[in-house]
């Protein structure tokens, strides 16, 4: 068991929990940046330096794209417009952390059982969770934890920024889980993952910008913005 890899996996999970549960946008962005930047190092052996560098740069770019789109939200006192402001996780960070721990246990169990099925594997018993900790099991656990904490903000939130952050963590979680369960991806698949990550960040940036603009319109015309939206005219 490599303690550095365990630390990296822990950092990914902590970053994911912070990203989806923080009330402050800046704290959430730090969580996203940590989770995305640490994930490429969850491999044994590490991928080639060029691939590693591409994934780290992609992670930094993804976090930066969201950062650029986040502007100071206007102070909102009208409770009817409170939905325009991010509120973080509704269940709080302790509950999110417990969900992540549960997902970790499930991920380790899945990985251990897969290792037991692997005819070329080290022959580990499915009951020996600790002995089976390896890079792939850490990736599986961290990936599943990220998926579990991010799935609600990514697919169930109505806020642009929260959706963006959930989207990034969910994509990273799926890519980690895929690598942990299915084996180390090829370099081209790694590049495809970077493309998906950056694309998710671009989309999140667009959603955040649109949300900020609609919030600014609401402040200029708070009554008008509460009226039913008129039919959309194209062009």
């Amino acid at each position: 068991m490599n303690p550095i890899l365990v630390g990296v996996a822990f950092a990914v999970t902590v970053g994911a929990v912070v990203a989806v549960s923080a009330r402050e946008a800046r704290a959430a962005l730090v969580g996203v940046a940590v989770a995305l930047a640490a994930a490429p190092f969850l491999g044994d052996p590490l991928p080639p330096l060029s691939t590693l560098a591409t994934r780290v740069v992609g992670a930094a770019l993804a976090a930066y794209l969201i950062r650029v789109a986040v502007a100071p939200m206007p102070l909102e006192t009208d409770p009817r417009r409170r939905d325009a402001v991010r509120d973080g996780s509704r269940i709080g960070w302790p509950a999110e952390a417990l969900l992540a721990v549960a997902a970790w246990i499930v991920g380790l169990t899945v990985s251990t059982n897969l290792e037991a099925l692997n005819p070329g594997g080290p022959g580990i018993s499915p009951d020996d969770l600790v002995g089976a900790i390896s890079a792939s099991s850490l990736a599986t656990g961290a990936g599943l934890a990220a998926i579990v904490v991010a799935i609600v903000p990514a697919l169930g939130s109505r806020h642009g920024l929260r959706t963006a952050l959930g989207l990034l963590i969910l994509v990273q979680g799926v890519l980690l889980f895929r690598a942990g369960v299915g084996g180390t991806p090829s370099d081209l698949e790694g590049l495809a993952g970077v493309a998906l990550m950056v694309t998710a960040a671009i989309v999140g940036s667009v959603l955040t910008t649109l949300e900020r603009r609609s919030g600014e319109d609401a402040h200029r015309d708070p009554v008008g913005s509460l009226r039913r939206d008129p039919p959309i005219e194209s062009g």
């Binding site: 109505r158 642009g160 299915g182 081209l188 989309v203 959603l207 062009g235």
Partner: protein, 504 residues
């Protein structure tokens, strides 16, 4: 190499077009030139051309050439339409990027790469155009989130299935070629097939995942529909079919209950999608629900196993996407020409714009199909293979609902003109002194062409829509044939890939 050329043209060209979107003239020039070059590059894709890159293989195929050329041609046509109709280049850039991602996704044998890139392309083509559509500034978040959810959910499902298949517990590694199929493995394979089908339901907007399609079609310009719900969706179906063909079909799994569930979902989508298209009175919703109905037919390819169903599925999705892209072009031009999308307000439209009428007639023929058309035969084959009689006959009848919801638009078009249509100027080409129109600049010979284009933009847009309809009908007649599209079909490569998928 030929696929790489297409990607190396389309990707940076698309990025440049998107970044230059505020400078409309420059963006259109870059985007349209890139798209035109992409048509040439796609038409030169060579089936024997296999390139190793970054630990994987990228190869062309006859099917990829057909699909890529059609896709790129429609990117050009919709770019021209957006330029003529004053919509702006918001859709053109993401469409090019989606084309690049789609080409690579279809050219690699590893479905994990394919699904990842197609998911990225779909996200871009769904949301980025919203930045350039002025009406989206107030409501874009709601529509954008509504489009992101099914795309990311479908990508998520497919990547999980691919991961399972490549794991020690998946059929690629756990299957004993000399022994019986373990019940647990057969169960897992059935769940995997249902997961793939669920991903298709979400991605294509089949029932019950159809709501976002209607909202998206209502909110966005019609030119934004084909990249997301047309070509991108077709690529997704093709990669899914290839995955099923390689991973599940060769096993002895019967998967009867799973096929029945998928068949029911597909039949419901065909029937209810057709009914919804009949009930709606605005042309955007008619377009959206006709696409939903097509998704139901495509889903039938997963309710039956075997190369016949797979080939029919490939033929169908290409034909359907091409015809509906032609319909989207008609919707786009009609909406801009007459300023309305309501059927009641569009009475007499074909009399005012005969070229649009001709385009619509071609779309109608392609949507219904005739015997010996590839799309028509594929639809009949899928219904026969996937559904038992007499259910297949009932569903086949409802599959001809375009006769009603498109036919009545044509009947309305040749009737008495409504006030909105009567108020629209005629569609004859203006030339001579009148060509200058409201041109305020110098009337020099070099300025004549831009002035002509500006004055005759609506007739030119109608001509572009007619060309789109012709291409759509041609593809519907010819189809894809039995050639594979995704993967490296004929290069004879048998190297197991890191994901465990053997290149076909």
């Amino acid at each position: 190499m030929s696929v790489l050329i297409l990607v190396l043209l389309a990707l940076p060209g698309g990025v440049a077009t998107t970044l230059l979107a505020r400078r409309k003239g420059v963006a259109f020039a870059v985007g349209l030139a890139t798209a035109a070059a992409a048509v040439v590059a796609a038409a030169s894709i060579d089936a024997a051309d296999v390139v190793p890159i970054a630990g994987s293989l990228i190869g062309g195929s006859d099917g990829l050439r057909t699909l890529g050329t059609s896709w790129a041609a429609f990117v050009v046509l919709f770019g021209v339409l957006d330029a003529l109709l004053g919509v702006g280049p918001a859709v053109l850039g993401p469409s090019l990027i989606g084309l690049a991602f789609g080409a690579v996704g279809l050219a690699v044998p590893d479905p994990g790469i394919g699904f990842t890139l197609l998911g990225a392309g779909a996200l871009l083509t769904a949301v980025v155009p919203m930045m350039g559509v002025s009406a989206m500034q107030a409501t874009g978040v709601r529509v954008g989130i509504g489009a992101v959810r099914p795309v990311i959910a479908s990508t998520f499902l497919t990547l999980l299935v691919v991961a399972w298949a490549a794991s020690p517990a998946g059929p690629l590694n756990a299957l004993d070629p000399l022994g019986d199929l373990a019940p647990s493995l057969e169960l897992a394979m059935g769940l995997a097939l249902l997961a793939i089908a669920s991903a298709i339901v979400l991605r294509l907007g089949a029932i019950p995942g159809h709501a976002w399609v209607a909202r998206y079609a209502e909110a966005m310009p019609a030119s934004a529909i084909p990249p997301l719900l047309g070509w991108g969706a077709a690529a997704f179906i093709l990669v899914s079919l290839s995955w099923v063909e390689v991973t599940l079909a060769p096993t002895a799994a019967t998967l009867g209950p799973e096929h029945a569930v998928i068949g029911v979902a597909a039949a419901a989508t065909i029937i209810l999608g057709g009914i919804a298209a009949v009930l709606h009175d605005d042309i955007e919703h008619v377009l959206a629900y006709s696409i939903v109905q097509d998704a139901g037919v495509a889903l039938l390819a997963f309710a039956a196993t075997g190369p016949t169903a797979t080939a029919a599925g490939r033929d169908w999705i290409l034909a359907a996407v091409a015809v509906k892209a032609g319909l989207a072009a008609w919707v786009h031009v009609t909406r801009s020409t007459f300023g309305t999308n309501r059927r009641a307000d569009l009475r007499g439209w074909a009399r005012r714009a005969p070229l649009l009428g001709a385009a619509f007639a071609l779309v109608l023929i392609g949507a219904i199909g005739l015997p010996t058309f590839a799309g028509f035969e594929a639809r009949s084959t899928l219904l026969r293979l996937a559904l038992p009689a007499p259910i297949s006959s009932l569903v086949l009848v409802t599959a001809f609902a375009p006769i009603v919801f498109l036919g009545r638009l044509l009947v309305d078009g040749v009737g008495a003109m409504s006030p909105a249509v009567r108020a629209t100027p005629g569609m004859a080409i203006v030339h001579g002194e009148g060509a200058w129109g409201a041109w305020a600049g110098d009337r020099t010979p070099t300025r004549l062409v831009p002035a002509l284009i500006r004055t005759n933009r609506l007739p030119l847009a109608a001509a572009a829509a007619a060309l789109a309809a012709v291409i759509g009908l041609s593809v519907s007649i010819g189809g894809l044939g039995s050639t594979a599209v995704a993967g490296v079909p004929s290069a004879g490569v048998g190297t197991p890939l890191p994901s465990g998928v053997v290149a076909p």
